[in-house]
Amino acid sequence: MTDLARLEVEAARARLSITRMLRAAGTGHVGGALSCIDVVTALYFHTMNVAPERIDDPDRDRFLLSAGHKAMAQYAVLARRGFFPEGLLDSYGTLDARLTGHPDMHKTPGVEANTGALGHGLPIACGMALGLRRIGHGGRVFVVLGDGELPEGSNWEGAAIAGHYQLDNLVVIVDANGLQISGRTADVMNMEPIAEKFVAFGFAAQAIDGNDMRSVVDALDATPFRAGKPSVIVAQTTKAKGIASLEGTAGSHHWKPSAEELDRATSDLQAAVDRLELVGARS
């Protein structure tokens, strides 16, 4: 199996894992988790210098999910990557669970920041990038922002810092699924052109199909795009990617499926895993 095929299988398995959490909690922020999960998979299985056996390594790369409501994507991938047993996914959303609706670094192995309130991830990521630069061992920081959180002014405080301090060990990925609770992001508050805004703050940018693993991997492999500049990847994605009946709907933001809907989503995602495993085995 090629590396690319392996990553595609991992992303499909992670999507399937999300149904376990949905089954446990009955509800969850599915749309955003499924739109960013290809990026999160590529980061943990391909790009980042992280490993469950050296979780406190000061030189490790850092991952932050500024759009913390997409936590199910991170949990699914962390479990697949061995940061905790996959059985923990079945406790999602239950009393005292270590997997909370938004990431908690003190509860979940591998989580680096307590995000959830939007607009917080990028400034924290800038601080980590500055700190890792001071340490000088090559540590990098990757932060996923949602396009719906871009109107938060603190993102642009962070963007100014990243540009000013030329943080080329910082990679921002905007999960641009184009939808938020109230509807189309462009209608709610138009933040386009996103890439150009970051470029104006001193970033180097690429726009990609964020649900196409080859595009994701190629873009991540090319970071930093320019020496002395932070990188931004504007990942055009589909909200709820992988669950056909939900794809591209604002209603998928926080989904409360019926038992029947969840069963259908689970069997569809299982079929996708089976198909990709078959294709991958032949590659």
Binding site: H106, N114, G116, H120, I124, G127, G131
Partner: protein
Amino acid sequence: MSTTLIDPRKTFGEAVTDYAAEHDHVLVLSADSGVSSGFGRFKAEFPDRYYEFGIEEHGVTGVASGLAATGFEPVFAAIAPFVTLRNFEAFRNDVGYMRQNVKIVGRNGGMTYSDLGPTHHSLEDYAVIRMIPGVVVLSPQDPGEIRAAARAMLEHEGPVYMRIGGPFIPELFDETPFEIGVGRLIESGDRATVVSTGTITVEVIAAVGALREQGIQVDLIGMPTVEPVDAELIRASAARSGFVVTVEEHYVRGGLSAAVAEVTGDMRIRRAAIGLPHEHITTGTYAELLARYELDAESLSRRLRDLIEAAPR
């Protein structure tokens, strides 16, 4: 008490700089506020450990969290309302909830930026920050306490907020090591327990001195930690006097008065609180505001006497 008046900001900045000379992990973050917060020497001596960010207090608070997450100890100082209110959610989540080793210092606290108006006053910082679980709130009372508290703050592993003022202040006490959460008994007497914090204590000491000359003796507790307060010291004194009065340059709601009420809530004692009324206060010189809001020594002496004399013995 010395009559020489000392710059609290410079005192604070020098103390941090001296500590940082022996602790490489201490960094200073500035939101166009570092030099005016006393860090001129730090910037000159450790330019690569001094980070300027311009005016963006939420962003800097997030950066502080990230730097702490990679093993550094950032100190971020600026005008008090901007590092407690403008950035409050970052303080709560990125620093408090993440339990980061970040030190945030509000200078020109209280109403010391007297003529600049309510945007620059800080009369709710104790209340607001002590609501964040796990954050220590300090308000040292004189230059020696500022120096000692700065060292204690930097030695403490975890988030700390410290308020300092702006106008020059006298040395009140011999400098001793600072213990977070420990008060100091400045005067002794059984008519009341007066608890004071921050630089208003200089007025309270004078007020209590005047009372003593009138034959009214009280316990005066200087409480430079607002969160957590020294419950043991306050309760022991309150048990003797039966009457606790707090004095603070802060709204009477939510700050030292609330902290003291909380730790004495089960005691059958009288309580009173002296501070700022719950309104957007007026402007003027600092001395004029102290007089207007009856927080100067003469007014405090009268108010304390009236409260004590109204109390059943």
